[in-house]
């Protein structure tokens, strides 16, 4: 039969689990970050191992190819500079018009590049961790984007790392706007469990005139995400709750399944 020491060991494990689960949220977060930091050397090793083939490939690249790349980058740089000059002029004009109408001036976005270091090992969450933390000025609820569009928001921060809750996670709701004539607004919630590229846009007006391909952007309501960040495009729509409101599926612009680098947006 099971001996007494076996019951004692089982009891000790259950006790540890109950103590950990009943800790205050702040203590749990600190403990999580402390335990998670044990993996830092491995993250460093993995990063170096991933970088090694790229470095090797760079060192083996022929001079002609490098010169070609430099030439392409120079041209791209010139194009971007001319676009930058143009957008500065537009921004100045926008500021003047805003001042004319006494509208609040929009502050430009400040972005910080971050590397995605790990993904949530559990299948029922959609989170990633990045290599920026509180020492880099990151704080909770800052929006995270890629060049393609919105990715999610910062959910917790440690000194060197931050957890990002991605679009499609049940804990990431975004107020969104469809770029159509009526500017229909809804709330972006979790989508399917398998396809990370699809999310649900819900609580749209029952009269919403939605067509596949229409762009969806952040509405700016809620105070977390600034207005105008591209999110995705409408795939299809259906009426729910006997026509009370409309739900639509949105295909995200950003590829959440293969994120490597993201931008943290500082308002």
């Amino acid at each position: 039969m099971f001996k007494q020491k076996n019951y004692l060991a089982l009891g000790a494990v259950v006790f540890v689990a109950i103590v950990l689960l009943s800790l205050p949220t702040r203590a749990t977060a600190r403990l999580k970050l402390a335990v998670g930091s044990w993996f830092l050397p491995l993250f460093g090793l993995a990063g170096a191992a991933q970088q090694l083939p790229a470095d090797l490939a760079d060192s083996l690249l022929p001079r002609r190819e490098l010169l070609k790349q430099v030439d392409t980058l120079r041209r791209e740089n010139q194009l971007l500079r001319s676009q930058s000059v143009q957008s500065t002029a537009i921004a100045r004009e926008n500021d003047q018009l805003r001042a004319l109408f006494n509208w609040q001036r929009q502050s430009p976005w400040k972005l910080k590049l971050a590397n995605v270091v790990m993904r949530d090992p559990a299948n029922w969450w959609r989170t990633v961790q990045i290599d920026l933390g509180s020492r880099d000025g990151v704080r909770e609820n800052l929006p995270v984007i890629t060049a393609a569009g919105l990715v999610g928001r910062v959910s917790s921060v440690s000194l060197t790392r931050s957890q990002i809750v991605l679009l499609g996670d049940p804990n990431c709701h975004v107020s969104a706007l469809v770029e159509n004539a009526a500017r229909d607004m809804g709330v972006l919630i979790a989508g399917g469990t398998l396809d990370t590229s699809l999310v649900e846009l819900t609580y749209l007006a029952s009269s919403a005139n939605l067509k596949p391909g229409q762009s969806v952007i952040t509405s700016g309501l809620g105070g977390v995400f600034p207005k105008g960040i591209p999110i995705g495009q409408i795939v299809d729509a259906r009426s729910v709750e006997y026509g009370l409101y409309t739900d639509a599926r949105v295909k995200l612009n950003a590829t959440l399944g293969s994120l490597e680098q993201v931008w943290v947006l500082f308002p």
Binding site: T28, W38, A46, Q163
Partner: protein, 185 residues
């Protein structure tokens, strides 16, 4: 408790947790991230002592939760609840048979996520659960089942290669030698 064996099991759990957090291939190919801790718990329950099982449940669970959005400590109980019954009945299990390892690995890999989900849902957490979860559960079960015999082989080989070997006692013992001699007349 063989300390080295315990350290080896815990090191494997640490690396497995790290791998689950960094390798994206299973998620991209199969649509689900696999979890090797239940399969490792089967190995520990059949081959190690009770302190090792307790340590694996606590540390493995805490490591997993620290890299996840799970509440810290939620994965400890499912791992413990897999390890204890197997340890309790391990004398009745044909632990060297790959088929037995496969069946136990499948059961453990199916029970662990189901129990964790149950605990999370009973705690009122809002989770990403739907019909796709069923597919993810099947993938986790199947991969866990297939991985278990490999984990047994890998752990045994590592233990043989890195650990101290048991000294083999020769059958001949001097004190039990039958003295044969001719009777002296």
């Amino acid at each position: 408790m063989k300390v080295f064996h315990t350290i080896l099991i815990l090191a494997f759990a640490f690396l497995a947790t790290f791998g689950e957090a960094t390798l994206t291939a299973p998620r991209q190919w199969l649509g689900a991230q696999v979890d090797l801790l239940p399969a490792l718990m089967v190995y520990a329950a059949l081959n190690a002592g009770l302190p090792t099982i307790a340590l694996l449940a606590v540390l493995g669970g805490v490591w997993f939760d620290s890299l996840s959005a799970n509440p810290l400590g939620i994965s400890i109980l499912p791992l413990a609840l897999i390890g204890w019954p197997i340890y309790w009945r391990r004398d009745l299990i044909l632990r060297d048979l790959p088929f037995a390892q496969l069946v136990l690995g499948a059961a453990a890999s199916a029970i662990a996520p189901a129990l964790t989900l149950l605990l999370l849902l009973s705690g009122g957490k809002d989770l990403l659960v739907g019909w796709g979860t069923l597919w993810q559960w099947i993938v986790m079960t199947a991969v866990g089942a297939v991985a278990t015999p490999f984990i047994f082989s890998l752990m045994d080989a590592s233990n043989r290669a890195l650990g101290y070997q048991e000294r083999i006692e020769p059958g001949f013992r001097l004190d039990r030698e039958i003295q044969r001699s001719r009777k002296k007349l």
